[in-house]
C-alpha cells in the first residue's frame, strides 16, 4: 500500500569551488511514503533547507539523485507545494487571488478555479477574508493563506520550510493542530523542516534527525503517538520520553556545530 513519493539516494550538495567548498549535505538518504508526514530535525546550518530546496528543484544536487514518484527531479517541481517561513504571499493579490495563482498559471478554467479556491479557503478557515490583502492579515492568517495557496495547487507533496517559526507560541500551537487536521483529512504527504522537537513530535509519522554540517541522516525515529495530538498527548509520558531521546541526539550536534562555528 505504501508507495514511495520522495526518495533521496546518496544526495550530496556542496557550495563554492576549490578550497572554499562547503559541503552542506552529504550522502543523504530519505524515503517518504504516500500520506506520510516526515519531519527533518537538526541544528541550524545542518542542511535541512538545502535538502528541501533540492526536493523542490530550486537547487540541483551535486551528486546522487532525488526521485519524485520515481521520476528524477531536474528543474523547479510544481508537484511540490512549498510553504516558506516568510509566507512569500504576493502582496498585490487578495487572499483569493493568491490561492488561485497556482490553478491560474496552470490554466485551469475560471469556474473550476473559483470552486477550488472557495473549497480550500473554507478548509483553512479563511472564509470572509477572500478580498483582504496579505498586509491586512496577522502572521498566523498569512501562513494559513500560504498553506491554502499550496494546497489549492493539489501538490503531490507539501514541503514546509519552518513555516511556523515566525509565529508566536500560541498561534503556532493552533497552526500545528490545524495542519495536522488538514493533513489527516486529505492524506497529504508532507516533508516538514523544523528545529523544534515539539513541533516534529506533534506533526510527524516519522522524524529524521540530521547531523551537523555536513548534513546526514543521524537517526530515523518512528512516531506512533496517538493522533490528534492535543495538549494532553503533548504532556504525556510517551511524548516526553521521545522528546528527551531526540534532544540527546540533537544536543550532540548542536554542541558540535557550535565548536565548528568561528
Amino acid at each position: 500500500m505504501s508507495q514511495a513519493i520522495i526518495r533521496a539516494n546518496g544526495v550530496t550538495k556542496s557550495f563554492g569551488k576549490g578550497k572554499k567548498t562547503v559541503t552542506a549535505v552529504e550522502d543523504f538518504n530519505l524515503l517518504v511514503n504516500a500520506g506520510e508526514v516526515v519531519t527533518l530535525v537538526g541544528p541550524s546550518g545542518c542542511g535541512k533547507s538545502t535538502v528541501l530546496n533540492m526536493v523542490a528543484g530550486f537547487l540541483p544536487a551535486s551528486s546522487g539523485q532525488i526521485l519524485l514518484e520515481g521520476v528524477p527531479v531536474t528543474g523547479v517541481e510544481p508537484r511540490c507545494g512549498m510553504i516558506f517561513q516568510a509566507y512569500a504571499l504576493f502582496p498585490w493579490m487578495t487572499v483569493r487571488e493568491n490561492v488561485e495563482f497556482g490553478p491560474r498559471v496552470n490554466r485551469l478554467p475560471r469556474v473550476e478555479r473559483l470552486k477550488r479556491a472557495r473549497r480550500y479557503i473554507e478548509m483553512v478557515g479563511l472564509t470572509g477574508f477572500e478580498h483582504a490583502y496579505p498586509n491586512q492579515l496577522s502572521g498566523g492568517m498569512r501562513q494559513r493563506v500560504a498553506l491554502c495557496r499550496a494546497l489549492a495547487n493539489q501538490p503531490e507533496v507539501l514541503l514546509c520550510d519552518e513555516p511556523f517559526a515566525a509565529l508566536d507560541a500560541m498561534t503556532r500551537q493552533v497552526m500545528q493542530e490545524e495542519l495536522l487536521r488538514i493533513v489527516d483529512q486529505s492524506g497529504q504527504t508532507v516533508l516538514f523542516i523544523t528545529h523544534s522537537i515539539d513541533e516534529a513530535l506533534i506533526l510527524s509519522h516519522r522524524i529524521v534527525v540530521m547531523s551537523a554540517r555536513p548534513g546526514r541522516v543521524k537517526k530515523v525515529i518512528e512516531n506512533n503517538l496517538p493522533r490528534p495530538r492535543h495538549v494532553d498527548v503533548q504532556l504525556g509520558d510517551d511524548f516526553l520520553r521521545m522528546k528527551r531521546g531526540i534532544w540527546k541526539l540533537v544536543e550532540e550536534e548542536v554542541v558540535d556545530s557550535m565548536s565548528y562555528g568561528n
Binding site: F58, V76, P78, M82, F84, L89, F101, N135
Partner: protein, 262 residues
C-alpha cells in the same frame, strides 16, 4: 518614539495659520520699508499682478502654465515610455545590465542644461526641443530607478511563483512587474520634479512662452512681481501634479492603500 500623530484637520489648521503668519510678516516688512518693494514685492502686490496676468489684459498666465505643464508631461511620459521597459529589461537580465550600464553612467551625470546648446542646434527652439530637454533630463533617472525597483523584487516571491507552476514569462508578468511597480512609481514621482527644472531652464534660455520664459522676461523688464507670480505658479502646478500622481498611485497600488493612510 513620538506621541500620537496629529489628525489631518489639526495639521491643516496649523499649516494654514503658519502660512498666514508668514505672509503677514512679509507684507509688513515690505510696507514699512524694511525691504525694498522693487527687490521683493509684498504678497498683496503679487496677488494683484497675478490677477492682471491671469484675468485682465494679458491673460497669459494660464497659457504659460498650460505650455510648461504639457512640455513637462510629454517629455516625462516619453522618458518613462522608453526608460521603464528598458530599465525592466536591465533589471531582469545581467547581460543587458552589463551592456547598458556604462552608457547610462556617461549620460546620467549630464545636467539637462548641458543639452540645451546641442538640442537648439538640432531642433531649434520649438516644442520638440523642449520635449527633448525634458527627455534627456529624465531618461537616465527613470532607467536607474526602474532597474533598482526590479532588482528589489523579493526573490522568494519569484521562487514561490515558480513552485506553483508559473513559467518564466508568467513570473515576469505576475510577480516581477507588479512587484517592481511601487518603487518604479515613487521613482517616477522624483523624476517628475526633475522634469520641471529641465523645462524651466529650457524656457529661460530659448522660448517665447511658458513659466520659465515669463520669469526671465519679468527679470529683463525689472518686473519682480511677474517673476514671483511665475515662481509661485510653478509651486502650485507641481503641487497639483503631485496630488494627481498620488491619485494614480492609489489607483494602481490598491494593496498599499491602507499603508499610506497610516
Amino acid at each position: 518614539m513620538d506621541e500620537q500623530p496629529l489628525d489631518l484637520w489639526t495639521v491643516a489648521v496649523i499649516g494654514a495659520a503658519a502660512v498666514v503668519v508668514f505672509l503677514a510678516a512679509w507684507e509688513i516688512v515690505v510696507r514699512i520699508g524694511l525691504i525694498d518693494a522693487f527687490f521683493l514685492p509684498a504678497p498683496s502686490t503679487i496677488v494683484q499682478r497675478a490677477y492682471q496676468m491671469a484675468a485682465e489684459g494679458e491673460r497669459i498666465l494660464l497659457h504659460d502654465v498650460w505650455k510648461s505643464a504639457t512640455r513637462v508631461l510629454i517629455g516625462f511620459l516619453l522618458s518613462a515610455l522608453v526608460g521603464v521597459p528598458l530599465g525592466l529589461l536591465m533589471g531582469m537580465s545581467k547581460y543587458v545590465r552589463a551592456a547598458l550600464n556604462p552608457i547610462v553612467s556617461i549620460i546620467r551625470p549630464l545636467p539637462a542644461l548641458s543639452w540645451i546648446p546641442l538640442s537648439m542646434l538640432w531642433l531649434g527652439i520649438g516644442e520638440k526641443q523642449k520635449f527633448a530637454i525634458v527627455f534627456m533630463g529624465c531618461f537616465a533617472s527613470v532607467l536607474v530607478y526602474t532597474v533598482a525597483a526590479t532588482l528589489r523584487v523579493d526573490v522568494i516571491l519569484q521562487r514561490a511563483a515558480r513552485n506553483l507552476g508559473a513559467s518564466r514569462l508568467q513570473v515576469i508578468r505576475h510577480v516581477t512587474l507588479p512587484g517592481a511597480l511601487p518603487n518604479i512609481l515613487s521613482g517616477l514621482k522624483v523624476v517628475l520634479a526633475i522634469a520641471w527644472t529641465c523645462v524651466i531652464s529650457a524656457e529661460m534660455v530659448g522660448a517665447n512662452s511658458g513659466l520659465g520664459f515669463r520669469i526671465w522676461t519679468g527679470k529683463e523688464w525689472s518686473d519682480t512681481g511677474q517673476v514671483l507670480v511665475g515662481m509661485i505658479s510653478i509651486s502650485l502646478t507641481v503641487l497639483i501634479l503631485d496630488i494627481l500622481f498620488r491619485g494614480v498611485e492609489w489607483l494602481l497600488l490598491p494593496w498599499q492603500r491602507e499603508e499610506t493612510r497610516a
